[in-house]
Symmetry: C2
Subunit: 180 residues, 2 copies
């Protein structure tokens, strides 16, 4: 499967990654949330080549994650700002940063400290269900396929660890037409 076709996959993760899943894009967005808005400022902070930065910013604008806004005329100067679609990625970045803080920090701890302004405590992000307000663990989520999608999207259960099953159950799936 080619990376370029990822945005047509019947999988929201694949489509999301087609937008923000390449090497530099999330770093760009992190800086957006920290208030960076200008090309050179991104370039200086990220150290990425201007070519790649230019490409990423353009794609993000094309896809609606960022928008260009003139902040002065004569000479025209534009800056990149998060759209609502871009701001909706905030939880992703917060959880990723927290994961890095927890598992990848050196002895000095987290480089940046996040405080929840409205309660004054250190921000400890949690995934909760908006319907019931309870925290959500991986096991608490049941995944079903939307019946509007007819190709099978979910894995065939493997009976993992069950050595008693016959040596070769129908693991092979029917031939598929370049889509999964």
């Amino acid at each position: 499967m080619r990376w370029q076709h990822l945005d047509q996959e019947p999988c929201s993760l694949a489509r999301a990654l087609a937008v923000i899943g390449d090497r530099w894009t999330l770093m760009v967005l992190r800086d957006c949330f920290l208030g960076v808005r200008r090309f050179d400022h991104f370039q200086e902070r990220l150290g990425v080549t201007r070519h790649v930065l230019s490409d990423r910013l353009r794609k993000l604008v094309d896809q609606g994650v960022l928008e260009k806004a003139a902040y002065q005329e004569r000479p025209r100067r534009e800056e990149y700002r998060l759209t609502d679609m871009g701001r909706a990625l905030h939880p992703v970045i917060v959880h990723l940063v927290q994961w890095g803080d927890r598992y990848l920090a050196d002895k000095r701890g987290a480089p940046l400290l996040h405080e929840h302004r409205t309660c004054g405590h250190r921000l400890e992000a949690r995934l909760t269900c908006d319907a019931c307000g309870e925290p959500v663990a991986p096991r608490d989520v049941r995944v079903r396929q939307n019946p509007a999608f007819t190709d099978p999207l979910l894995p065939v259960p493997e009976t993992g660890g069950d050595v008693s099953r016959p040596p070769s159950p129908p693991t092979r799936r029917p031939p598929r037409q370049e889509s999964e």
Copy 2:
């Protein structure tokens, strides 16, 4: 800046991306959360080349996100399972999927439907502060630098949109030694 040095950056997002930020890793982890555990099963579902898959799985094991466990001896067969570190990425994936569902779906809607098992409703993920239980918006987060890090990590404010400022404030920062 090279991608390979990202894991030494004083930024938890950069370090997290050094682990899970390349083209295929999050797709692999998505499948892990859906119960996929075997090499061929990943390969078949993702369509990625065996070479790349092998490389990604090995790196994930090296970094502690997955672990290999034998599910049978003679012949020895191993499977890949999420560790606690890997399971801690669940919120990241859930939010990414939800973002894709919201902004990138076609008319058929979300390919996979997620239900919160304990309350029975459609899972609507929310970022909340564990200290106060309230939802967290981007504006609600104040970011400070951990004083143990001496190099400046946060962007110099740009006074965006303020046309009244002098033409060239000290935007240039002092020369830095390959670290940001």
